[in-house]
Symmetry: C2
Amino acid sequence: MFARSLRQLRRPILQQRWAHIGHAHANLRAVTSSDVEHFTSILSPSSVLSTLSPVSTASAELDSFNSDWMGKYRGRGNTVLKPRSTAEVARIVKYCNEHRIGIVPQGGNTGLVGGSIPVGAEGQEVVLNLGAMKDVRSFDPNSGILVADAGCVLESLSTYLEPHGYIMPLDLGAKGSCQIGGNVSTNAGGLRLLRYGSLHGSVLGLEVVLPDGTVLDQLSTLRKDNTGYDLKQLFIGAEGTLGIVTGVSILTPPASASINNVLLALPHFDNVVPLYRQVRRRLGEILSAFEFFDRQCYDLVLRHGQQPALPSDEVSDAQAFVLLETSGGHKEHDEAKLGELLEELLGAEGDAQLVTTGVLAQSQEQFNALWRLREGITESIGREGKAYKYDISIPVPKFKEAVDTVRERLRERGVLGKSPGGVSLVLGYGHVGDGNLHLNVVADSYTDEINDALEPFIFEMVSGYRGSVSAEHGIGSAKVDALKYSKGDASRLWMKKIKDLFDPNGIMNPGKVLPP
Amino acid sequence: MFARSLRQLRRPILQQRWAHIGHAHANLRAVTSSDVEHFTSILSPSSVLSTLSPVSTASAELDSFNSDWMGKYRGRGNTVLKPRSTAEVARIVKYCNEHRIGIVPQGGNTGLVGGSIPVGAEGQEVVLNLGAMKDVRSFDPNSGILVADAGCVLESLSTYLEPHGYIMPLDLGAKGSCQIGGNVSTNAGGLRLLRYGSLHGSVLGLEVVLPDGTVLDQLSTLRKDNTGYDLKQLFIGAEGTLGIVTGVSILTPPASASINNVLLALPHFDNVVPLYRQVRRRLGEILSAFEFFDRQCYDLVLRHGQQPALPSDEVSDAQAFVLLETSGGHKEHDEAKLGELLEELLGAEGDAQLVTTGVLAQSQEQFNALWRLREGITESIGREGKAYKYDISIPVPKFKEAVDTVRERLRERGVLGKSPGGVSLVLGYGHVGDGNLHLNVVADSYTDEINDALEPFIFEMVSGYRGSVSAEHGIGSAKVDALKYSKGDASRLWMKKIKDLFDPNGIMNPGKVLPP
């Protein structure tokens, strides 16, 4: 109880520093009962939650919309709206724009940077949750083009496509909750980017409600369309600050007939890059994932209940692990390619020996178990303590150096291993094919001391590598101050001009992406 | 001689109607000697061509910069600038912006829609040719990320990459002349899009000189970077109307160890879609092109010197041809997959028989010969007469219907087969995997009569299919009036707002993409 009270006490201070949370937006006013009454005239009664009259929802019912799953951010919205159609969204937005009420578009609320919760003063933003818009609008089994409401859950779309022999071009750990509109708005990357590319390539069209309530219908189902500026691209990754994505047209790839995965243990991190080159050469077009995680990650997921896929004595000296996946159209060919690769890897000697040992999944169950070792990392970190999450793009050869540098920094600052209030783990994992490292610092609580040791230290380090301070998580409210480490003055100036052009009143997801 | 004079006489009228050519831009003034003198102070003497003093270039030397390779558009620029660096481009642009002089960015000048030649009154635009900026800035053989000057010729980049084991993610018939900056600015599609996706996915970063002379440096070499709005996307396909692309960072795919192609003859067009489905199922991830051309195209390229790849008696009844290509990492596997496919196709009987006959290239020479049948179409059309080119996205099952409808239209209007001044051929070819049909009408000259029969007829037809009036060629000056058939009011309004934001003085490629 004591610890909890302490954290509650500290929270407002921390949140202010980290995420501009709780700062009033000067341009916006708080929602009133009269606004809520108007919302109930636009939406069906069950679609409006508000602590204000005439709805008077119990405040606890708004909790899940006001806070993120990590328990790091807590907003002060008093009203949540759940429209069921694009027309309803447009009417809400138009009203809010005219009345200077902020809007936080919210999908599955699975983000990691505080992008989908209100950050203003109490009631300054309504949460506009897209979860009730969850219909597939169309699917063409010839072309693989899917058109869906923004609120469709990623996994449910995968399930929808399965009987047609197609898959979604992206896959995330959060697939069971995250929504396609949120995926697009945050330009989600994930596990399949190596193979199927980014959403900037696979999204063919969007329907967006602009801040003035206009519906921008660019819901094209064409693979190619060079008629003027590709405006939809602006909304991919804009995190709802330029408009609300309500519909998505996306090119889905055919499902592969044959899928395999392999876990490899490496004696040194330095072997990762040569291994990646060898794997690419051998597997070519059937390689669909090449994920790296370090020793700390491996031990952590085992500690939290995952089964070790490799005998512990064989991996006692392993410093790094690689999970690779193949997806191809021809079972025998794929297995032959994998067989040749593994033979080459395990038969190598001396300096050419890149891996210590490895395992090829022999059943769907084993396949899933190997993926759980990788996908279970996030959850295990959450169980272990509070995570300071950094999602950075840097050259792959620097992955380990970056993790070691941060660990050393925390040691110098005296917070590594300190108890209570100290850091227990510094670990790294990520997508080698994309140069994307997830650097996580785990502690028993969020403290200013740790935060000050990490920021702007990590951002400066990333900037030194000419990397990105946010490879796939976005900016949200958490990284607003860090934007300058990856984007120059001209880029930030033009982002602001674009923001002001679309949203002159600053109602769309205020306090996110760009400094006020 | 008479014919030529007649054409010259007609030209100004036609050009005005088709492409806003020769209309004065109200906001711009013509280049003067004093401007030319200033340009010579920015650039080296050999980089300034102008009919004005103090340079006084012979007007004929400007011809190739003022006209397109089809001989369809002819601009009236009096000055051509060939900067050698981004800094030089920036100084020119800043000066032109301050002095209200239009700028036409020009790459290889291989476009098909009059996008890279001046269209204003005499001297209102300088041609800014990027051809002198042709250095590769960097290449990382681990990641495959290439950074190059905008003026690098596409084929020279392919040659550069070859020893590193990489290829460019796009391939066009114009590869020997077109430049990467132009490819990006026009969002070029081409022959590899089916496999490697669009430039919106593969371009990682751009360096752009904005209309005020600012250099927007977004030349990222990161595969993933979610820090704010992806501004570079706006310039991909903007055809130089928002700024000048001076540098490109692009993700290049590994070259495939094994490449094969096959030409198939089909008795009916209706077999194309089922064939595509069967081919995708059999070849999966190694399929790298699936190109269709109709009987008229096949006969045409043979008439213009290509060798028939199939015995003429075997294809006498063929209505359609398909050229498919595979690119894979494993020669034996790829050949086995192709072998299984061909066995299935040629062994089929009755309704299941989709192809009449086919040929698999057995040597590099044969491989090239098969591709020449497809890539030779454009050149053969050029030799046959004057082409009215339409590049549309429509559902694949409608490809033949569209060509037949247009042929019937021309027959009804009495211009099909008419001589002189009539249409000799209406033909269709294109990229099945992308739903992209090239519909070409060939006549002995460009006439208003034919043009009136075709437009807006074709645009209305495309609109009826909910297609795109420009799949990959862009809008240029030729399709400005057609934009509305593929983009709604809100989309066009917001394009205009974006244009005005970046280029308030309207100096960048005036008269292109958007109506004045």
